[in-house]
C-alpha cells in the first residue's frame, strides 16, 4: 500500500519532467546509444551474421597476445603511476596551500598541453641517439644506448607521464582529508615511520588509490597515440589493433567486435569502481 501511495505521488511528476528531458534524451540516444548499438550490430553481422568475429578474436593466439599485452601495459602503467604519484600527492597534501596551488596549476597545464607534442617530446628524449642515452654515455655510465623506445619501457614512461595527473588529483583529495596529527599519534603509539605508513596512511589513502588507479587502468586500456609512437610492433595494444583492422584490413566486423570487448571490460571495471567507492563511502559515513 505504501508503495502504491509513493507511486501515486511520483507518477504525476514524470510526464512533466520527461518533456523537459526529451532534447537531452534524443541527444544521448542519437550520439551515444545508437553508435554503440551499431557497433554491436556490426560485430555480429559483418561479414555474415553470427559470433564468428568474437570466436576469431578469442580463439586466435595472435589476438590473445594483443589482449594480454593490453592488460599488461595497463597494469604496469597503473602500478608505476601509483608509485610515482603517491609521494607527489603526499607532498602536495602537506605543503602550504599557496605553493600547492601553484604546483597544481603546473600539473593541470601539462594536462592541457597537446598529447602528440608530449609524446613526440618523449621520442626525442628516449631514442637511441636521444638526450637521455647521449647524456648517460657521455657520463660514461653506459657503453651502448639503452633500448628505451619501441618497447614496453618506452610505452610505460610515456603513458605514466600522461596518466600522472589523473592519479595525483584524486589522491591529493584523499590525503588532504587525513589529519596529520593522526600520524603523530601513531608515532607516539610506537609506530615507526614505515609502520605508520603501512598501518595508517596506506589504508586511509586506499579509496584515492582505487579511484585514481581504476581511472588510469581504464584509460590505459584504450590508449592509442602513445603506444603507437613509443611502443614496438611486438607489443601492440588493442587500440592499435582495432585501427589496423579497420584502416589496413578494412575488416569492420572484427574491429567492431574488438572495440565492443574493450567497452565491456571498461564498463565492468567502472562498475567495480563504483561498488568500491560506494562501499567505502558507506563505511565512512556509518
Amino acid at each position: 500500500m505504501s508503495v502504491e501511495a509513493q507511486q501515486g505521488i511520483a507518477t504525476p511528476r514524470i510526464p512533466a519532467g520527461l518533456g523537459g528531458l526529451l532534447p537531452a534524451l534524443i541527444l544521448i540516444g542519437l550520439f551515444f546509444v545508437v553508435p554503440v548499438l551499431a557497433l554491436l550490430l556490426r560485430s555480429v553481422t559483418d561479414p555474415a551474421p553470427g559470433l564468428q568475429n568474437y570466436a576469431a578474436l578469442l580463439g586466435d593466439g595472435t589476438y590473445a597476445r594483443v589482449f594480454f599485452n593490453t592488460f599488461l601495459v595497463a597494469a604496469v602503467v597503473t602500478i608505476v603511476t601509483v608509485l610515482v604519484a603517491f609521494p607527489v600527492a603526499w607532498m602536495l597534501a602537506i605543503m602550504p596551500a599557496a605553493l600547492a596551488s601553484i604546483l597544481f596549476g603546473i600539473i593541470i597545464l601539462s594536462m592541457w598541453t597537446n598529447l602528440l607534442t608530449r609524446t613526440y617530446a618523449w621520442m626525442v628524449l628516449l631514442q637511441r641517439t636521444g638526450v637521455i642515452n647521449r647524456a648517460l654515455m657521455g657520463a660514461g655510465i653506459i657503453d651502448q644506448p639503452l633500448p628505451l623506445i619501441n618497447n614496453l619501457t618506452g610505452v610505460t614512461i610515456g603513458m605514466v607521464y600522461i596518466m600522472l595527473p589523473f592519479m595525483i588529483l584524486p589522491l591529493v583529495g584523499t590525503l588532504r582529508a587525513i589529519d596529520p596529527m593522526t600520524l603523530r599519534a601513531a608515532a607516539l603509539c610506537g609506530a615507526s615511520p614505515l609502520a605508520a605508513f603501512r598501518r595508517i596512511l596506506l589504508p586511509l589513502s586506499l579509496p584515492g588509490i582505487a579511484a585514481g588507479g581504476l581511472m588510469v587502468f581504464v584509460m590505459s586500456l584504450g590508449y592509442f597515440v602513445t603506444p603507437a609512437l613509443l611502443g614496438g610492433t611486438s607489443n601492440m595494444m588493442l587500440a592499435e589493433m582495432i585501427a589496423q583492422m579497420i584502416q589496413s584490413l578494412l575488416n569492420w566486423g572484427l574491429g567492431s567486435a574488438a572495440a565492443f570487448i574493450l567497452l565491456v571490460v571498461t564498463m565492468a571495471l567502472y562498475a567495480l569502481q563504483l561498488r568500491l567507492v560506494g562501499s567505502k563511502r558507506a563505511v565512512g559515513g556509518a
Binding site: D179, M181, T182, R184, A185, L188, C189, G190, R199, A286
Partner: protein
C-alpha cells in the same frame, strides 16, 4: 620534593627571531599531575611537543630517569599522548585503536586482548569495542584516545588541551574521569590547558606560563592564595586591582593610600617598595564582605548592579575614583540581601590582599 622523574633542563625553543620557550627548567616527580597553564602562545604546548619529540628544542635537555630523550625519535620514547583534536585512526574499530600500540610492539595476541579489555573497562567503553570512531561522540572518542595512550603503560602521559573541543558538561564529566584514572593508574601526567578552572580542578601542581617562561609553579592553592606576580593573580581566579600609593612596609605588612585618600594597613607586600611608589592592590572578589568584621579594612563604593548567579551573587560596584570592581561576597545570605544599588562601605581582610608594583 622527591627525586625528579622527568627533568626539563634550560629548555629553549626559537622559531627564527621569535623565542617561544625561554630556558624553562622543571622537575617532575613520579606520579605527579602537573599542568602547564597559560594563555595561547605562552610556550606551554611547545614545551610539551619537545617532550613528545615533535619539535627539537634549540637548546636545553629533557631527561627521563636521568636519560636524555632528545636523541630518541618519537616512536621510541614510549610516551602516551592525548591530543586536542580526536586523533583516533578512523579505519580501525575502538578495540583496534586501543590495540594499535601493542600491535606495533608485536605483543602476543592474548596479551593484546587482555590489555584492550582492561583499558576499555578503565574508560568505561566495554560495549563500544567494535564501533568505528566516527560512530562515537566527542567525549567517547577522547576516552578511547586516553585508553590508547595508556595501553602500553607509558611512564608519562601528555595531554594537550584534550577537553577544549567538548562542551562544558562533557568537560566536567571527562575531568572526573581523568582524575579517577590518574588515581587508579598512578601515571605521571603532564597536562596543557588555558582553562584555569580545569587546571585548579585536576592538578597536583600548576606551572603558569607567560611569554615562554614559567611565571610561578606550585599547587593551585599556592597560586591562588600566594600569587608571586600580578600576572599570576590576574590569571588564576578573579581579581580586582586598585591603583594605590605605597607608604611604608613593616615586617612584610604594607600600608598604602587609596585613590580616595583613605589608608589601608596590614597588606601582604610582594617584594620591597619605595615610599610614594605607585602600586596595585589586588583583592579577590570573594574576599569582600558586606558586613563589618574585626581588623577589616573598608572601601567606599557605589553599588551599580547586583546579579544572581545561583550559588552566589555578583555585585558590580564603582570606587570613588571611578574604577569598576567585582564583588562576590561569601558572607551570609542575610548580608547579601542588603546589597542594593547605592553608596555604601564594603569590607575586606587586608591579610588576603596583595600589593604589586604598578
Amino acid at each position: 620534593m622527591t627525586q625528579a622523574f622527568l627533568s626539563i633542563r634550560k629548555l629553549r625553543k626559537a622559531f627564527g627571531a621569535f623565542t617561544a620557550v625561554h630556558d624553562v627548567t622543571l622537575d617532575i616527580p613520579k606520579g605527579e599531575f602537573l599542568t602547564f597553564l597559560g594563555p595561547s602562545g605562552s610556550g606551554k604546548s611547545t614545551t610539551l611537543y619537545a617532550i613528545a619529540g615533535f619539535q627539537d628544542p634549540t637548546s636545553g635537555d629533557v631527561l627521563l630517569q636521568d636519560k636524555s630523550l632528545l636523541s630518541v625519535p618519537s616512536h621510541k620514547r614510549n610516551i602516551g599522548m592525548v591530543f586536542q583534536r580526536y586523533t583516533l585512526f578512523p579505519h580501525l574499530s575502538v578495540a583496534e585503536n586501543v590495540a594499535f600500540p601493542l600491535r606495533v610492539r608485536r605483543r602476543p595476541e592474548a596479551e593484546v586482548k587482555r590489555k584492550v579489555a582492561d583499558m576499555l573497562s578503565l574508560v568505561r567503553l566495554e560495549n563500544f569495542a567494535e564501533r568505528l570512531p566516527a560512530a562515537l561522540s566527542g567525549g567517547q572518542q577522547q576516552r578511547v584516545a586516553l585508553a590508547r595512550a595508556l595501553a602500553y603503560d607509558p611512564p608519562i602521559l601528555l595531554m594537550d588541551e584534550p577537553l577544549s573541543a567538548l562542551d562544558k558538561k562533557l568537560r566536567e564529566e571527562i575531568q572526573a574521569e581523568i582524575r579517577r584514572i590518574h588515581r587508579e593508574t598512578g601515571v605521571t601526567i603532564l597536562y596543557v590547558t588555558h582553562d584555569q578552572e580545569e587546571a585548579l580542578h585536576l592538578s597536583d601542581r600548576i606551572a603558569l606560563f607567560r611569554d615562554g617562561r614559567i611565571e610561578q609553579i606550585g599547587t593551585g592553592e599556592d597560586l591562588y592564595l600566594r600569587p608571586a606576580t600580578d600576572f599570576v593573580a590576574g590569571f588564576i581566579g578573579n581579581s580586582n586591582f586598585l591603583a594605590t600609593e605605597h607608604l611604608e612596609t613593616i615586617d612584610g605588612a604594607a600600608t598604602v593610600r587609596l585613590a580616595d585618600g583613605s589608608l589601608v594597613s596590614g597588606i601582604n607586600a610582594n617584594g620591597s617598595f619605595q615610599r610614594g611608589q605607585k602600586t596595585r592592590l589586588m583583592i579577590r572578589p570573594e574576599a569582600f564582605r558586606l558586613d563589618q568584621s574585626p581588623n577589616g579594612a573598608e572601601l567606599a563604593v557605589e553599588i551599580v548592579d547586583v546579579a544572581f548567579y545561583g550559588e552566589r551573587r555578583r555585585i558590580v560596584a564603582r570606587t570613588s575614583a571611578g574604577q569598576e570592581i567585582d564583588i562576590r561576597p561569601t558572607s551570609s545570605a542575610a548580608a547579601t540581601h542588603e546589597a542594593s544599588p547605592g553608596r555604601r562601605q564594603v569590607f575586606f581582610d587586608p591579610g588576603g590582599a596583595f600589593l604589586f608594583p604598578a
